[in-house]
Symmetry: C2
Subunit: 161 residues, 2 copies
């Protein structure tokens, strides 16, 4: 596998119920947007290199999504519903993991063109309460996210824009 330059995610907790993540990708906003919204591309990075089955991806307000990652240690299902979509700019959706059903997060992802060929992704996650937020922080979410974003870096280094 070729070495690909990756950037560090910046994780902050600006409120008791929130997690913010900022991550820069070395690719245009259009390429990053496509990688987040086209199932054939999502499959190549979201599962951190593990096979990912996209059971649903109704990419419109009110549509459902459901992704199932087949990792060595087990099968992880994730799902939710799109609250709002602003093309090339923002995706608001709900997010929950089968392991904690009904512990729903609102996730708002914004895509910012940095003007130099790079794109800043900011993801704001809102939890029902601090316990659920802290549970997510302790779950190893940051490691899994970094693995996904590194897989995305590799994809962006190859996908045509």
């Amino acid at each position: 596998m070729t070495a690909v330059a990756t950037n560090r995610a910046r994780v902050t907790t600006p409120g008791d119920r929130e997690i913010h993540v900022e991550r820069i990708f070395n690719a245009s906003r259009e390429r990053v947007w496509r990688a987040f919204t086209e199932p054939d591309l999502i499959k190549q990075w979201w599962g951190r290199g593990n096979p990912l089955v996209i059971e649903k991806h109704e990419f419109e307000r009110g549509g459902h999504w459901r992704f199932v990652e087949h990792a060595k240690e087990g099968v992880h299902g994730f799902e939710g519903r799109f609250r709002d979509i602003k093309p090339m700019d923002r995706i608001d959706r709900t997010f929950e993991w089968d392991g904690m059903p009904g512990y729903v997060i609102i996730e708002s992802a914004t895509f910012e063109d940095l003007g130099d060929g790079r794109t800043k992704l900011t993801t704001r996650s809102l939890f029902y309460n601090q316990d659920e937020r802290d549970g997510m922080l302790k779950s190893g979410m940051e490691g899994g996210m970094n693995e996904s974003y590194e897989a995305l870096d590799r994809l962006l280094a190859t996908v045509s824009s």
Copy 2:
């Protein structure tokens, strides 16, 4: 239709993000529990007298539920997922209406035996923020809920325990 004694729901807003509803039913806890958990009974009251299609009712932790009410003015879909179930005692689930997709509420319903043949249902709803809570209060939710509970009173007056 025979007149059936109904009780008044008590609606309070103990916090910025909450709605609590207390409602007494003139029936045993077992009968009220069955009316909330058995699809054939749910169908007879949840839709306020309108036809209700129960598309999903996987009544276990992690299971999905989806009810569609066919009212004169339109079709209303509702869905969510069970977070936790304590038989005869409590149902914790998420709840959202198709008209506001992703505006998910955590709803915790407890069933209390009042010891005199009556049952107190307490429903605590937690919203992501005050705006979403206030939106629900202004939506006519209380009127719809009262219609459902009156339909439930009628059902409880007939169903065998």
